[in-house]
Each structure stands twice: as structure tokens, then as C-alpha cells.
Amino acid sequence: MSGMHGGNIAIIGASETREVGVLPDRSMIQLHAEAALLALADAGLTAADVDGVATAGPLPMEVSHHIGISPRWLDGTMVGGCSFMLHVRHAAAAIAAGEASVVLITHGESGRSRVGVGGYRANPAAPQGQFEAPFGALAPYATFTVPALRFLHERGMGRRDLAEVVVAQREWAVDNPRAFRRKPVTVEQVLDGPPIAYPFTRDMCCVVTDGGGALVLTSAERAADLPGGGHAVYLLGSGEASEAPLMSQMDDVGSFGAFRRASAEAFGTAGVSHADIDHFMGYDAFAHLPLYMLEDAGFVGRGESGAFIAEGHTRKGGRLPMNTNGGGLSYTHTGMYGMFAIQEAVRQLRGQAAVQVPGVTLSFVQGVGGFFWAAGSLVLANRRP
């Protein structure tokens, strides 16, 4: 083995919680544990095999202790909902360096039912508390959304382009029994829906759910000898980047530099081109994010994202099937959706998705953290190059 990329590290276990959606009978920490034990079973391993733990939300020792693991490697990197993309690449680096052998990455969030979760209150002396919160930038729908009009304005695009994202993704969710929103919608219905924060109506905003997910990583060499080795998914490349922890201070309101940098590093380390990618997961807390991501990650040119989606290229049979679980807009969104984007990429690469795209071999996963704060990108494959 040499290096963290190029297929030397494998995801050999992956699972979400048994259900996602409304789970008032489970606390946040138990959602982590449920997903973790399912992912270990999927890998054919037990907690005793794990020597590395990464999580975001709770501290890694809270998860380790709850499950019964004494790790020799911990990662509590917390950059918002794409933290799990960063955990994957940090775990890969640790495994490649011999610092860990089997790494467990967990997510669980009682985002809807709020069971076992502390309250959230912005610190009024922090930069965000002084320079954003007093103006009403508190809820994600009133903060993450603020740059969108600029993006649309600079490209001659409009609200219809946001609605087309919703319609395209709902098409995937209709056939996914685990999806939270499954009713087909039209562009007009999305535009006429309850206004949340202009230009965003309700269905342009993600669902709010409970759930969890976990991943188990080890070296490709070890994976070959494990029960989970037969369905291993390999890390070809990855990248991470951050900008400002205040949306208002992002370098360019109409394009996110962290998407550009993280995705470029992922493509570069993987040694693949955009044309090689046959499946794309783009973290969609709100409908403008897939538009930013398609352009910033270079799948389409500047100003082409809206037409690309409206013309059906991200739908069934399209050349870049995107957010095939229905995405955060329709499938599930616990608060930190990144884990679910990775889970769907793994399912598609294994041929086990609820709505399977035929012949997926290379999946690109683009995550966002906070409100345009950070980004993480993964290139995943179902065979070693």
C-alpha cells in the first residue's frame, strides 16, 4: 500500500439507521450507535476490530465510549455537514500511514424530534453573533440562501432554475420508499409553494428529519480478506477547503471558492476527468447549492447549470444522474447531510440503491459545510484502478 488515494483505502461497511425520517424514540447518540453497529455488521467486523473513530456533532470519545471502543486514533473535525467527507480523507491518510487499521465514521442527529440534543444559541460576542445574527441571519433558510440571488443575477438565471432543481430531484424520491417528500411536483407548484425566504419557497428548502449513518474504512489489502471486501468501495481522490465562517465574508458571492478548490484537488488526486464520472451527489440543503456545485466543480460551464438540470441531464437516463436518493430536498436532512450523500454514492457503486442507476462505476461526492463555510469532495469507485 502506498498513499491515501488511488484505491488503496476502501469503505467496507456502510449503513444508515434502520429508518430515517421521524424517530422520536431514539436519542442523538443512539442514532450514532445504531448506524455504527449496522455498518460494522455490513463490513463483517465488530466493535473490537475498530481502532479509529471520527465523528462530528458529539465528540469522538462520546461516540467511542457509547459503543464500547477504545480508539488509538480520533478525529473530531467539525466543519458542518461535510465533516464526514473530511473524515473519510483523514481516515484514509491515517490508515495509509499506519496510524489506524479500521476507522469508524459516525453521524446521528435528532434534527426533527430533538431527542437528547442541547439547545442552540448563537454567541452574541462571536463574529457571527455581532455581524450576522442581529440582522436576522439565524435560521439556515435565512442565511445559507442569501447569496443565491447574486448567483442567479450574474448569469441571467432566475427562480425557475431553483424550482427545476427541486423537480428533477423529486423524480428520484418518488420511487424511493425511504424518502421524506415523495409526491411529484411541477415547477409551477414549487414556485407557488409557501414562501420561506424569497426567492425560496418551501420545497426549495431541505426536509428536516432524524437519522444517522456510519462508514467503516480499512486498507484495500485488508478489505480483500474481509467479508465486506466483496462490496468494497475505493477512495480514488479527495479534497477539502474552507473559507469564512461567516457567509457574508465568502470571497465571491456568486461562486464558492471552497467548492472549486476541494473539487479540483479531488479530481487531481484521483487522476480522473469529469467525463469519467457517472454519478454525482451534491449536498443540497437548499436548491441553489447543486447549481453552484455543478459549475464550481466544473461539470458545466459558468451559467450552464440551470439549463443542464432543466434539460434533464441529472434525471433518470441523464448523463450525470445527481442526488439519486432525492437529496436533502426530498430524501432526508438531519442537519448534517453529508453522511447521507456518501451513503447513496456507496449504494449506487454497490448496485444496491433504492433507485439504481445502471452501471455506476465512479461517483463524485461534493459536500458543503455550514453556510458556504467549508467543502469536502470525494471520488469513489467500485473497483481499484
Binding site: 440582522f135 439565524l138 435565512a142 424569497y198 461567516l246 458571492v253
Partner: protein
């Protein structure tokens, strides 16, 4: 806009908030690279020089982007839509703010339109808010 959280200044930002309480918008400029930057800190965020000076700026700028938030959270008035906006000052820095003085409707909020700072009391502080201003977009 009615109500909302109250900022708590730190030693590094107190000059800014003292300015808004006095009806002035104060922004720091770097003596080394010449750039204005925001939010306040005692060194330049572009070149890390500590040769920085507080400037009282005109408070003119342009509207970069916004949302009209129909669901304000407490302590803001949940019945009063908020225009949560990004404004770029003529000197360069960008700030989050509220646009006040016009109905919260898109036709009154042209992107790139000129804006001018105003100040609204909030608790023991004063917030820099902006009004749409006459003049051509830049």
C-alpha cells in the same frame, strides 16, 4: 425591522460599535497593502500587517444580494418580513445588514442598486442598516 439579537462588542470591535452608536460607520484600512477589510480585527486580513487605521467611511455602497425572510425567529417580530442583505461598501468590504425603508418586495430591491447606511437602535447598541439610495448602479 423590529427586534433581534443584540451584538456584544469585544475589545477588538468596540471602536466599530462605538461608531455606530455615534452615527458613524467605521472600517479599518491597512497601511501596508491599502485595503479596507471587515469584520474588525487589529491586523489586516489580507497581509496580516498590524499597521491598520480606523476610517469613518461614507456609508455608500451597492446591494449585492438578499433574501426576504418571511419566517423571522425570535427575538425578531415573526410577523414582519426581514430583508437580509449583503451590501458592498464603496471602499470594498462586504457586510450583512438589513435593507429598511422600502416595502419588503423584490421590485424595491434592485441588485447593484445604490444603498446608504443608516443606524437603528438595538438594545444598548446601534445596528448599521441600509436604505436604497438615489443614483445609478455602479
Amino acid at each position: 425591522m423590529t427586534g433581534g439579537t443584540v451584538p456584544v462588542p469585544t475589545p477588538e470591535t468596540e471602536t466599530f460599535w462605538a461608531g455606530t452608536r455615534a452615527g458613524e460607520l467605521r472600517v479599518q484600512q491597512c497601511g501596508n497593502c491599502g485595503r479596507y477589510y471587515f469584520y474588525p480585527r487589529p491586523f489586516c486580513r489580507y497581509c496580516q500587517s498590524s499597521d491598520v487605521t480606523w476610517r469613518t467611511v461614507s456609508g455608500g455602497g451597492r446591494l449585492v444580494s438578499y433574501v426576504i425572510n418571511y419566517r423571522p425567529l425570535p427575538p425578531a417580530d415573526p410577523a414582519e418580513p426581514q430583508v437580509i442583505a449583503l451590501v458592498e461598501l464603496d471602499e470594498g468590504p462586504r457586510m450583512l445588514t438589513n435593507i429598511v425603508g422600502v416595502p419588503p418586495e423584490p421590485e424595491h430591491l434592485p441588485l447593484d442598486g445604490r444603498v446608504q447606511v443608516d443606524f437603528e437602535e438595538r438594545g444598548d447598541q446601534a445596528l448599521p442598516v441600509f436604505r436604497m439610495a438615489a443614483g445609478d448602479p455602479r
